[in-house]
Symmetry: C2
DNA sequence: CCATCTTTGTGCACGCGTTCACAAAGACAT
DNA sequence: ATGTCTTTGTGAACGCGTGCACAAAGATGG
């Protein structure tokens, strides 16, 4: 998972568990695909397969939204698309600003999947004066001096941060002060925000490191054939002779 | 959370819980920053604050790695950097290929934070013949015809998919067949992989939808002053009169 | 060497999330 | 109308993750 929420304790939002909320977009995507193929109804089993989850989980998730679905038949695709969209707040338009129009920010600005779900790129903001006025993805980049005005004029409540790590917290502070209450952060930093502001982060580096961890485990298991004891092959090897097959980085040892 | 794992049930990998593994990179980042400032030791309290987590959680996380840390003092920064790096498999070099060098793929290729943790971009692969040979971030793009050979020649086990959604599954299948066992997927699709292959996904659209959900809740609460009953303001409103303040999408109703 | 003070490591309890398994609901055929 | 068959919705059990709270460990000062 490339994410993690901040603040807002375990206050189940109106009764819909956070884990369920995180899956709703997944269901919505699968349902939209079915809708485009004019499929009228789906069973929980089919839809679960398409979304890559357990069917019991899917049914429980939907049960938090209400009793849509007909026993013996399944769920009405169009109706469910509407209900989930409404629950996620996608029946309204969400203006979004992107701050930091570098490699990543420009890619995000060019991303088509943005607009497809009610999100509209209201403005692109960068601190580089050389970029001001230059169009990216058809939208002229604006200077960060005008950040507050841009937020307020467009009624923006969702901000995307794609600046270097060092600039992320100051930018975040300005966004929040200007009225932004939801932030998607691509910079590799922990953002501190007041209560009531949601932060989600996407960190490529963290994802790769998690993959590397599992990759290392797979390589360390070394079982060409079937059932080898998966764990407990080595217990508390502490240090020494645990390196991969390749070379190793000389390590700094403690006092 | 922008992620979600696939397959591999709840098999706690060698005793380190998945949730802990996901936080190790966070600790590592904070520790690296301390190391650069030549800070010799940190307490769990300080480090937890820097990583944005609870200090008890941090201590429990570290306890899975072993008893590094000195009571009354804290943790030796350099030592901990090494131990976490080793646990995550970052003491070895991980060649990575990126498939789909469009807006996003190019941004990823240009991303400096890639190399900083033992990940090396071994190759860039695209299906567009016009891109073949063209350097992106100093690395010439190779045609996807040679995908299998590239994977094998470089001993690549981690692949990044940044192609359009429709191409993701076929690309994934080829990567896996060629020997890749860890995939980071940016395309908005559920990938199906054999057992033993790890998939993590990053989906911008899902993140925004989750933010929109909470944003809608905040807007719906409408409490200019202090303590209003957070939930149970409306119970089971089913349909009708639940739309946002703005316009609403005409919905298709079921039979 | 002893006392004090800081900070770790963890036992324990609790709550959330997942999954199983099944009764109830309803479609559909006869 | 009645029976059968499919599929939902959910009660209950279980396991994982989180956070509290505290005893043990060890540093530090006298
Ligand atoms: N490129 C990637 O694939 C990638 C992947 C993961 C994370 N990231 C992170 O995303 C961020 C951006 O990456 P990038 O490759 O686009 O970097 P970049 O250097 O290409 O772009 C950063 C942009 O932010 C602008 N900027 C700097 N300070 C600013 C400020 N105070 N206000 C507004 N704009 C400001 C710069 O002018 C520049 O245009 C970095 O934090 C990076 O670590 C990037
Ligand atoms: N741009 C973003 O910010 C962003 C954000 C989130 C998700 N995504 C997703 O990431 C993916 C890439 O986005 P993008 O904006 O870079 O798109 P893009 O169209 O700019 O780039 C896609 C690239 O993939 C290449 N390609 C197509 N089929 C291929 C194949 N079979 N093998 C190898 N290469 C192939 C194309 O030639 C092209 O260069 C999409 O699935 C998109 O939905 C993008």
């Amino acid at each position: 998972m490339a994410t993690g929420r901040t603040h807002r304790p375990a206050t189940r939002s109106r009764g819909i568990p956070e884990a369920t909320v995180a899956r709703l977009p997944l269901y919505l995507r699968a349902l939209t695909a079915l809708s485009e193929r004019s499929v009228p109804t789906v069973s929980s089993e089919e839809l679960a397969a398409a979304a890559g989850v357990n069917s019991a989980k899917l049914r429980k998730d939907f049960s938090y939204l209400g009793s849509y679905g007909t026993r013996g038949v399944g769920y009405d695709v169009e109706y469910l698309v509407y209900q989930i969209s409404r629950e996620l707040g996608l029946t309204q338009d969400w203006p979004v600003v992107i701050v930091g129009i570098g490699n990543l920010g420009a890619a995000l600005a060019n991303y088509g999947g943005f607009a497809s779900r009610g999100f509209r790129v209201a403005a692109l903001i960068d601190a580089d004066p050389a970029m001001a006025g230059k169009p990216v993805a058809g939208i002229p980049v604006q200077h960060s001096d005008d950040l507050e005005k841009i937020i307020q004029d467009n009624g923006v409540s969702i901000g995307v941060i794609a600046t270097p790590a060092g600039a992320a917290q100051p930018v975040c502070d300005r966004l929040v002060a200007a009225g932004v209450t939801s932030i998607l952060n691509f910079a590799p930093t922990v953002l501190t925000v007041p209560d009531g502001v949601d932060v989600r982060k996407v960190d490529l580096s963290i994802e790769l490191q998690i993959l590397a961890f599992h990759e290392q485990r797979k390589a360390g298991e070394e079982h060409p054939d079937g059932a080898a004891p998966p764990a407990a092959a080595r217990e508390e090897s502490d240090e020494s002779a645990d390196q991969g097959p390749d070379g190793d980085v000389p390590a700094v040892m403690p006092a």
